[in-house]
Point group: C3
């Protein structure tokens, strides 16, 4: 399958893949700390972040990066916001790539009795607040892979989230 | 360790690994959308899917792929079925590979009061319904890496799940 | 960016990355089965495991490996302890590497009514007991990449966990 490609081309495709894994893995740390500079460095200038119905959907790198410094987002961070990403599916096509990922958002439980697990402390536990399907459309730039468009939809049994997942396996 | 191997061999081993990551990452999207064609393309014809006690364990690619279109499975999808896979452990040995992964199955909560998290909407949250240890036995075919056998066991403190996990670190 | 590096150097950097992914992926199977030998083989002799306030923080490979065989830890395993790791962020710098990961610890629910999900069995579900930010400081040794220091902090809205996450994206 890869016989006709040069070693250089194959290594570059592998490096692309690993760079993209780190780009996706660095999203939770930036979202959970209000890392505005990192968010800005991850997007192209004309990027669009489509969060679906009922949530704000910023357009443009400055608006997207600015969102993690808004008082509402800071309040979520103070409460213990935690994004958690599974293993993403990555499809690279030349200078563009599509990543499909599942993403959980958890927060500490504020009610109920603490539970003790031996050797693992006492805790009220964490609540999986949101569970979303994400489509990340990436482009290669001279400064590395950047996000051009991110679309997320809640995995609540409705069609939009399934459409994102179906696109990942349609190829 | 790798001194004696050619660059070609080493690159091929790396490409194998990345192809296997995508195979594992494409499982949740196919399970959560009823992607029968994708499931069929992921298995060898004589594949066996061993789901353990109390759940159906289809044998053969057609039965395995057909399962995601059964009315019960479609009902789970309508409810908001979401598979969530962590970072898998991958051990490749020539034309065979063993992947060991943890897999969560989540569904939207249908009871309780919605909770609001600032900038992250209001939700009843998600329930982690199942948590399993998975062993995927893969083989290289002319059409890429395919699943020959998948064994999963519930992480409920019983021995079978631990046996799967122990095998991953026994090497 | 990589133009000046030899193919050999680039392939080695890629192999490092994949070896590190497997090191991180093999942690949950060893923690959840009491795999003392595997834990010992994953650490350098003078390793430090800093678990933060309220939990024991063993120093030295023998103490770290011994911990998974302590009665308290065995009791957690009997109950159904399950570590679940997301996609980690990996930064390699020569013979050292820093991995930043989110880690969930789940246990089976022991209270409440079982819920049936079609085609996915009946279960009381799983509780996310802990949710931590982890910093793994690794070193290359003649026997492969090993853990020199691991620091974890609970994602409960407090500063120490955020400091770990911020360090991952500061580079």
């Amino acid at each position: 399958m890869s016989g006709a490609r040069s070693l250089e081309d194959r290594i570059r495709a592998i490096e692309d893949r690993l760079e993209i894994y780190n780009l996706i893995a660095s999203h939770p740390p930036s979202a959970d700390t209000g890392g505005k500079e990192h968010v800005a460095a991850s997007w192209v200038e004309e990027g669009v972040f489509d969060r679906g119905e009922g949530l704000s959907s910023p357009r443009g790198r400055d608006a997207i990066a600015g969102q993690v410094r808004m008082p509402e987002h800071q309040a979520a961070i103070e409460r213990g916001l935690a994004h958690f990403t599974g293993l993403p599916h990555v499809a690279i096509d030349g200078d563009a790539a599509v990543v499909t990922s599942y993403l959980q958002i958890l927060v500490p439980q504020t009610q109920g009795d603490p539970v003790e697990v031996p050797n693992h402390g006492s805790s009220r536990g964490f609540r999986v607040h949101r569970m979303t399907a994400n489509r990340w459309e990436l482009v290669r730039t001279p400064q590395g892979w950047k996000i051009r468009r991110r679309t997320l939809r809640q995995l609540d049994g409705s069609e939009p989230a399934r459409a994102i997942l179906r696109a990942a396996i349609a190829g």
